[in-house]
Amino acid sequence: MTTNEPISMNLLNQDLFKNWPFDQDHCLTCALCSSSCPISGIDGFDPRKIIRMVSMGLQSELVESRWPWICTMCGKCEHVCPMGIHIPDMMRAIRSLRDRDKVPGILHKGLDAALKTGNNLGLPKEDFVFILEDVADEIRQEPGFEGFAASVDKQGANIMTTIHNKLVNTHTEDLKHWWKIFYAAGEDWTVPSENWEGTNWGMFTGDDPAMKLMSGRIAENMVRLNAKNLLWPE
């Protein structure tokens, strides 16, 4: 909240969010959510305050608030809430109210890039495939993995995996662990060369159409490659 002025209750529109099916008006302020939250206390954040703001219809304060954006959406609050309030869904709904150009920078730019190029980095297909081949090369240097090969766009594989963009950016080492497990287990797997992004920032920014588009692309890849199972490690 940006002001310490008292709120005049009769100026509030308490019907504003009543159609949100999140049961926020059932909150007993017991603090189980706040006690379980990994970021409670940071920047004065307390999930109960957000819930009360929603019940009171404080729209502009919610839209401007930093709190819904520092929420990690881990869902522990919802798991422990005795009144069954869907707190992460509420956070998402609040995020959706913000003008898109005021969505925090990396999320806004990343989603914009993903919608245009298929991944949050805007990484071209040939660069992506080059990085995967490079990692596969490094794996082949290790004893016991001489026969390893990256599997891109393979038809009919048992598992198709999505890729978190950091795995082909700053954390390529992290690709190796599970690829080596695949190899050791004799798993039949593949990665799509396009629209491989597993991180759906449409979800985090409350952008439903973008979330649907990103999820739809993964489904299209499944169909295109005739894959049997999806591994979506997000």
């Binding site: 049961d23 059932h26 007993l28 302020t29 017991c30 603090a31 189980l32 959510c33 706040s34 006690s35 379980s36 939250c37 409670s40 206390g41 004065g44 307390d46 522990k76 422990v80 809430c81 005795p82 009144m83 069954g84």
Partner: protein, 345 residues
């Protein structure tokens, strides 16, 4: 007991069933008192006296007096280890009669009565699925278990090493006011009971620090002033903890949002006591089904009194969360209602 007397079956040998039986017998009504365990007294018989330097009217002593009265009364016949397995009600000469089948061990017996009183009490909420380590950490107990320990041994010691606890945490509303469980009710007796318990332990074991984690203190009854005056003995934190973990030195770490500092906080305790809520007992559910009573959580989940069939009455914590004193009153009211029903039917 003679054959011309009107007969009532009282189901439940706890404080409300015993009270009603004694009151009915005094009014010249023959009572068949049915108890499914091996002894009379119900939950109340497992509670400890909570007196500090003065009586705090907890009611724990009431039940012993009621047991003495009931077992010494010629108009009361006690059936232990017995449960109602069937009921047929019919009208004989415009008079409603209940033909109740009782099961004792493997034996069945039919008893005919003019009225039935449901006094089958409550079941304490079982907190294993709440994030407090109940059933995993020995030093996490329910209030009822703590009561029984105090009653049996006169002292509170940690189950894991028999050491006296230096500090204890009490977590309120465990299993009450919880829509995820379908328990929307406040169990009403837990705040007062836990606070009295903590004060009582402090009197017996000086230096023991008690911390209460609560939503709001719901303390009812005539003794409010006394309990209120005792509040300063306890640390009161308006926040329900989300986790209980065991430390390397076998203590218990609670994490919670501290309302004073507005920050995440961890505190370490020797014991954690869960103030478990009251829920309708299995016997109450079974009886309601047998007697065709609309049974959505029996009375627990309702605002208005349950419409009961003619000749069927209910009292005590079978109806809703109730203290011992309230159960005695509720039983007295039911006995009076039954007496008037007998006169007019």
């Amino acid at each position: 007991m003679n054959s011309s007397m009107k007969q009532v079956m009282v189901v439940g040998g706890g404080v409300s069933g015993l009270s009603a039986a004694v009151d009915l017998a005094r009014l010249g009504i023959a009572v068949e008192l049915v108890e499914n365990s091996g002894s009379l007294g119900g939950h109340a018989a497992q509670l400890s006296c909570k007196a500090t330097d003065h009586c705090v009217s907890c009611g724990a002593c009431v039940v012993e007096e009621k047991i003495r009265q009931a077992t010494g009364d010629a108009n009361i016949r006690v059936h232990l280890n017995s449960s109602v397995v069937n009921n047929n009600s019919n009208d004989v000469n415009r008079r409603k009669r209940f033909d109740v089948t009782l099961k004792q061990d493997q034996e069945m017996q039919h008893i005919e009565v003019d009225a039935v009183l449901i006094a089958s009490g409550f079941a304490p909420f079982h907190p294993a699925n709440k994030p407090y380590g109940y059933g995993r950490f020995e030093n996490v107990m329910t209030t009822l278990e703590l009561d029984l320990m105090l009653r049996k041994s006169g002292a509170v010691k940690r189950p894991s090493d028999a050491a006296f606890p230096r500090n204890m945490a009490f977590i309120q509303c465990v299993g009450s006011r919880d829509s995820s469980l379908g328990h929307l009710w406040c169990s009403k007796i837990c705040c007062g009971a836990a606070l009295r318990m903590a004060s009582c332990i402090q009197n017996r074991q000086p230096g023991m620090k008690s911390t209460f984690f609560y939503i709001d203190i719901q303390n009812f009854g005539k003794n409010f002033q006394t309990d209120y005056a005792d509040m300063h003995r306890h640390i009161l934190i308006r926040s329900i903890p989300a986790d209980v973990l065991k430390t390397a030195d076998d203590r218990l770490k609670l994490s919670y949002f501290d309302p004073d500092t507005q920050a995440y906080q961890e505190s370490i305790f020797d014991m954690v006591i869960l103030s478990v809520g009251l829920t309708p007992s299995v016997s109450t559910r079974n009886l309601a089904a047998m007697l065709n009573i609309d049974m959505y959580g029996f009375a627990y989940a309702r605002k208005t009194p349950i419409p009961l069939p003619a000749g069927v009455f209910a009292a005590g914590a079978a109806l809703e969360p109730m203290s011992i004193a309230e159960s005695v009153l509720s039983a007295g009211k039911a006995a009076s209602d039954i007496f008037h029903y007998m006169k007019t039917s």
